[in-house]
């Protein structure tokens, strides 16, 4: 299929005063499955609509295979789009929904439209629904009809606006797996917008994290998960603990982080961040909870604290631990028959500082806002 490379330069968009998008720069390779993630209200759907041509950017340019598409109307861009609520036309059958529109749809090459629809229905395993109305279909079937409608005109670019958001967990896993397989098979450039990190991490080649209308980080799923470049991104990818303190460079390759809550920690780091007020962040499951009288293994740094609350989540137990004036969130794997440590118990927290990330303090004004 004729897939397309897409570039966006310096896109800005606003409906009025507050800017919805600014300084958006993207470059997506042909055949890539690219995910755009971010908290709700961050502007990711608007970005997708701008790329589709449903909205005109107030600034910047979009190029498909190097051609500026500013003056090409929606219909001429040859993109397929699946909307969040699927937007299937309730007064048409599945077949009519898929066959609708496109002046060029009469025939393309040797294949008739009808044959192509039949083929898509078969690939998506919804052949038996062809005469049904959307209201008679399950959510999963509706999504596949919407996908078929988006793909029938052999678009150069497929846009997906949170297509899993209305779907329950188990079906969701199946659907995203199917989507990935199909996308590979067709080799079509695809942009997936989602608010659910897991969807993006599991199937995307690369992802962009959008917060407050700007792209904060672009990278592979593991890069973004392991090495978030800012507190906002860290928060979005599930880092819960942020401790304020001061960073100093000591010796060669060594840094020292001093915080009123956890005291002073030292560990080696190759690309040392700048000295000064900083924030140390670490994931809840990178912390280990031990009885207060345990042997303090030299590989870890150890802090004493008190259990404030525990929450049993199934696979893990999440504890809130008070340390000085701060609170840390710790996730411990749950084993058969184990009971949660009761609140009030004194405990030791051990952690490997090299698994922590250091950000300059004051980088984000909203650091303290809870998610």
């Amino acid at each position: 299929m004729n897939s397309v490379r897409i570039e966006a330069d310096n896109i800005a968009f606003s409906y009025g005063e507050p800017r919805v998008l600014r300084d958006i720069n993207l470059s997506i390779e042909a055949c890539e499955l690219f995910a755009v993630v971010g908290p709700s209200g961050s502007g990711k759907t608007t970005l997708l609509r701008v790329l589709a041509g449903l909205e005109q950017p107030s600034h910047g340019s979009i190029r498909l295979n190097g051609v500026d598409v500013r003056d090409i109307p929606v219909a001429g861009r040859n993109v397929g789009m699946v909307f969040q609520n699927f937007a299937l036309w309730p007064h048409m059958t599945v077949f009519e929904n898929i066959a609708f529109g496109h002046p060029s749809a009469q025939s393309s090459g040797t294949e008739t439209v009808e044959a192509r629809i039949e083929k898509l229905l078969a690939i998506l395993d919804i052949t038996e629904t062809r005469a049904a109305r959307p209201a008679q279909l399950s959510i999963g079937q509706q999504q596949r009809v919407a996908l078929a409608r988006a793909l029938v005109h052999e678009p150069r670019l497929l846009l997906l606006d949170d297509p899993f958001s209305n779907v329950e967990q188990e079906l969701r896993k199946q659907m995203r797996h199917d989507l990935r397989t199909l996308q590979r098979k067709l080799g079509i450039t695809t942009i997936l917008v989602t608010h659910a990190l897991e969807d993006a991490l599991s199937i995307a080649d690369r992802l962009a994290v959008v917060v407050h209308g700007t792209i904060r980080q672009i990278g592979s799923p593991t890069a973004i998960y392991d090495f978030p470049n800012s507190i906002d991104v860290a928060r979005f990818v599930g880092v819960e603990n942020f401790l304020a303190g001061t960073l100093r460079h000591v010796e060669r390759q060594m840094i020292e982080f001093a915080s009123p809550d956890i005291g002073t920690l030292r560990w080696p780091m190759r690309d040392r961040p700048a000295e000064g007020p900083s924030v140390l962040s670490i994931r809840p499951h990178a912390l280990h909870l031990c009885p207060i009288d345990s042997f303090r293994d030299g590989r870890y740094s150890w802090i004493e604290g008190d259990v404030v609350a525990s929450e049993f989540l199934g696979e893990v137990v999440r504890y809130r631990i008070a340390i000085g004036n701060a609170e840390l969130s710790v996730k411990q794997p749950h084993y058969l028959g184990a009971t949660a440590t009761p609140a009030g118990t004194q405990v030791l927290i051990g952690f490997d500082p090299s698994r922590a990330r250091i950000f300059p303090a004051g980088q984000n004004a909203d650091m303290s806002t809870p998610e």
């Binding site: 759907t45 609509r49 589709a52 449903l54 929606v74 219909a75 001429g76 993109v79 397929g80 789009m81 909307f83 969040q84 609520n85 937007a87 036309w89 309730p90 007064h91 609708f100 529109g101 496109h102 002046p103 060029s104 749809a105 209201a135 409608r149 988006a150 005109h153």
Partner: protein, 563 residues
């Protein structure tokens, strides 16, 4: 009676029996009397006689006229309503929000007052506009004769088009914009999208609004009575009125009236049935979740002409008739030109403070409106409680009884009330204010049931159960939990009844006696008697009362919502 039902006869059953009793006496009994009178001649069932009545010239002419007029109004009203709804929701017309509110104003104005104003402006010889054209501009004939089918259709269209306008603009606003966007992405142009996506999706709303116009126009008395009398154009309600009034009490005229009423009821039932079918068939889920603004059509060069069109339309339907009513109401004699020395406050003073007939009519309308609104509100809340909340058998029957008058034309209700309460069954309240009250209650019960049921549906059973679980008795639970929650519904019901009752004409014109004229009747009869100036002055007062009432409700409702 078996033991099970005996032991189960408690408060719910008592309330149920009571509700059924009230509705049978007030609603079902008068209606049944109409059918009985129509089909029961000389002690036996007789259809041939009904056919004979229908074959009379005046009868089938009335039928034909009703069809022509309501058909015409339905077509024009639907076109006008749909067009303006599209204009204010889907284009970049300037001042759209204001325009949208202004298009709803004709709903408040009683159509027969509009008809009165247009008669003053466009009656072939005396109308001010026609005279301007003939006397000043030198035309040979009148510009437009309002005493015609076209005239009647035009005036009714002006005041009934909001039925379609409200439905369609609502549907267009609620419609999920992504349904149209996905069509754009599929490569369709605006024309194709409008034809294949937008119109099919709002078609149920268009049709249901159109059927409401038809239902209303079919049963409408005022406009046809005011504009058709000179040229002999009459529809079924007008003929019923003439039969009852001009040959008071004669058996033949009552029978003719009941046959006409039967036809009217059947037509209305047919329309309601069609509307239910349209709504059931076209019930698409097209409501938007996350809303982006729908694409607006750029009118470009047509933007200003369209705005002018809207302003002219609003000027013609609202401003011009209202101003005419107030000016004519201030004239020393009808027919004088509108100069300052011809205008006086004396007419308004006379009808408000000096003349018993008009003063009484205002008092009658206000007290009838208050009484019927209060009674229907309380009866409605109890009956809807039985319908919505209580698990009694046969509540579907109760609902049917209560909603019946919703589609039954006013003239039919009035006729039924006459048959039931003028002495044949031991009670004679004919010519008193009580018969009008009974008719109003029957007519407006459905309004109250609708508002109260809607409010009660939202009070979930578990709220009462929670109160009972906390130790409250059933009475306490009702008083402290249910009543506060349905109070907004009751308030809404009160105003939904009070305001239309204030300007009611169709029912009261069949029931009024020498001292029991309502405002509507007084305006109508003064006009019939040639007292055009006083009629206009009273209409002006009525408009002021109506507008004040509407403003008051808006205030109350917005305060309630804000709290």
């Amino acid at each position: 009676m078996n033991t099970r039902t005996q032991s189960r006869f408690g408060t719910p059953e008592l309330l149920f029996m009571l509700s059924v009793g009230v509705l049978i006496v007030v609603v079902a009994f008068p209606m049944l009397l109409i059918f009985f009178n129509a089909f029961w001649v000389d002690g036996h069932f007789n259809v041939a006689d009904v056919v004979r009545v229908l074959q009379r010239k005046e009868t089938y002419e009335a039928l034909l006229n009703s069809l022509i007029l309501s058909g015409g109004v339905t077509v024009t009203g639907t076109i006008v309503g749909t067009f303006f709804a599209w204009l204010v929701t889907r284009t970049d017309l300037p001042f759209k929000k204001t325009m949208k509110l202004l298009f709803l104003v004709p709903f408040m104005l009683p159509a027969f007052i509009g008809a009165l104003a247009w008669k003053m402006l466009l009656s072939p010889r005396a109308g001010y506009i026609n005279r301007l054209f003939m006397d000043v501009l030198g035309f040979d004939g009148p510009l437009f004769d309002i005493y015609s089918y076209a005239g009647i259709i035009l005036v009714e269209t002006m005041y009934l088009f909001p039925f379609v306008f409200i439905q369609v603009s609502g549907a267009l606003e609620r419609m999920d914009p992504t349904l149209e966007e996905s069509a754009r992405i599929s490569g369709a142009d605006l024309f194709t999208i409008t034809r294949k996506i937008t119109i099919p999706l709002v078609l149920p709303s268009i049709l249901s609004g159109a059927l409401l116009i038809m239902l209303y126009s079919m049963a409408h008395f005022g406009t046809v009575a005011v504009l058709g009398v000179e040229t002999g154009i009459y529809n079924i309600p007008v003929l019923i009125y003439e039969k009852i009034h001009q040959s008071a009490g004669s058996f033949d005229s009552i029978r003719t009236a009941t046959v006409l009423a039967t036809v009217l009821v059947l037509t209305a039932a047919l329309i309601m049935w069609m509307q239910n079918r349209v709504l059931a068939k076209g019930k698409y889920q097209i409501i938007a979740g996350k809303s982006f603004r729908p694409t607006e059509l750029k009118l470009r060069g047509l933007r200003i002409p369209m705005l002018i069109l809207c302003i002219v339309y609003i000027g013609l339907t609202i401003v011009l008739p209202t101003v005419t009513i107030f000016l004519v109401g201030g004239l020393k004699t009808y027919g004088l030109s509108f100069t300052l020395e011809n205008l006086t406050w004396a007419n308004y003073n006379h009808i408000l403070f000096e003349w018993d007939l008009t003063r009484d009519s205002i008092w009658n309308s206000i007290s009838l409106g208050l009484a019927s609104a209060l009674i229907t509100m309380f009866a409605g809340v109890i009956i809807s409680y039985v319908i919505v909340k209580m698990k009694v058998r046969g509540k579907g029957f109760l609902e049917f009884l209560g909603m019946l008058p919703f589609s039954v034309p006013g003239s039919v209700i009035a006729l039924g009330v006459i048959l039931a309460w003028s002495g044949k069954f031991g009670i004679n309240i004919y010519n008193t204010v009580w018969i009008i009250l009974v008719a109003y209650i029957a007519r407006y019960m459905a309004f109250s049931l609708k508002a109260n049921s809607a409010a009660l549906e939202q009070v979930h059973d578990s709220l009462v159960e929670a109160a009972r679980a906390s130790g409250a008795s059933m009475a306490q639970a009702l008083r402290d939990v249910v009543v506060p929650l349905v109070r907004p519904g009751m308030v809404a019901a009160f105003f939904l009844i009070f305001l239309p009752a204030l300007r009611e004409l169709t029912v009261s014109v069949l029931l009024y006696g020498p001292t029991t004229r309502t405002i509507g009747v007084a305006i109508y009869t003064l006009n019939e008697d040639g007292e055009t100036v006083y009629s206009a002055a009273l209409a002006g007062i009525a408009l002021i009362i109506i507008v004040l009432g509407e403003v008051l409700i808006k205030r109350l409702v917005t305060q309630k919502n804000g709290a």
